[in-house]
């Protein structure tokens, strides 16, 4: 299974619910295209809900970083929500915990964009 992304609006924050795997190939490209489409259509406060992401490889990590910089370059912000233990471990190993704001409470995460 690749990754499936669905979006919902909570105030002015776009919550992206991601399900599946973000790995080199279809998963990574789907993720990249979706983030770029969201930014192009004016969505600049993105909260990525990764609760249902079962697997991320280094390409997937690269896409998270790329999404972060793409949105930041447009004056927006990407934050992460509900990381699994495995994704948490990956972000710690790669020191990306120092880059991303990470939340385990959606309401709190949404409020943080204000």
């Amino acid at each position: 299974m690749s990754v499936k992304l669905t979006t919902r609006q909570v105030g002015d924050v776009t919550v992206v619910d991601a399900v599946g795997r973000i790995t080199l190939g279809e998963g990574a490209s789907t993720f990249r295209d979706s983030v770029r489409d969201l930014v192009a259509s004016g969505h600049k406060k993105l909260l990525l809900n990764l609760a249902e992401i079962s697997y991320i490889d280094s390409s997937g990590i690269g896409e998270l970083v790329s999404g972060f910089t793409t949105v930041a370059n447009q004056g927006g912000t990407v934050k992460l929500l509900n990381l699994t233990k495995r994704v948490q471990d990956l972000l710690q190993i790669t020191k990306l915990y120092t880059v991303f704001e990470v939340f385990d409470d959606e309401a709190k995460a949404v409020r943080s964009f204000a």
Binding site: G25, D57, S58, V65, R86, I93, T94, V99
Partner: protein, 148 residues
């Protein structure tokens, strides 16, 4: 390769095409070997990531998807560990040439984290040139009960 290992029969010996399907195939086949050794789910995930990263390097950066070049995968296992060798036919690879992905100036780079993940998730990791050309990566994971 260590002498004691070269004397063992490999439990898995694959020659794979230089395509992304081979990445999934190698990961799946090696995880089957690791499961038979009794690794837990966390270790299986770590082995899977390490294999995936190594295979991507071999297919994408080593063989550059060249259909004439193959990726060789060998797995041997004993009661306490699994040893994995992944070799490509590319132009060679020096892991020291990869910028430190943990340096502040590199944190936002798109790529360059694969080797670090392999080192982090496996107990042994080594890279050596392959004759007549290419790169051979050897990774070992020990079962928790056999670690010091």
């Amino acid at each position: 390769m260590a002498d004691h290992e070269s004397a063992q029969a490999h439990t898995l010996d694959l020659v794979l095409e230089s395509c992304l399907e081979s990445v999934d195939g190698a990961e799946e086949a090696i995880l089957q070997e690791a499961k038979q050794l009794g690794f837990d789910e966390d270790d299986l995930h770590k082995i899977g990531i390490a294999v995936r990263e190594c295979m991507v390097n071999a297919v994408v950066h080593g063989n550059r998807y060249n259909a004439r070049k193959k990726v060789q995968v060998k797995v041997s296992r004993t009661n306490d560990r699994i040893a994995i060798i992944i070799a490509d036919e590319g132009g060679g690879f020096d892991p020291a040439s990869v910028p430190d992905p943990l340096a502040n100036e590199n944190l936002l780079r798109f790529s360059g984290r694969g080797v670090m993940l392999m080192r982090a998730f496996m107990d042994e990791f080594s890279v050596s040139p392959r004759e007549p050309k290419g790169t051979e990566v050897r990774m070992v994971k020990y079962k928790p009960s056999s670690k010091c």
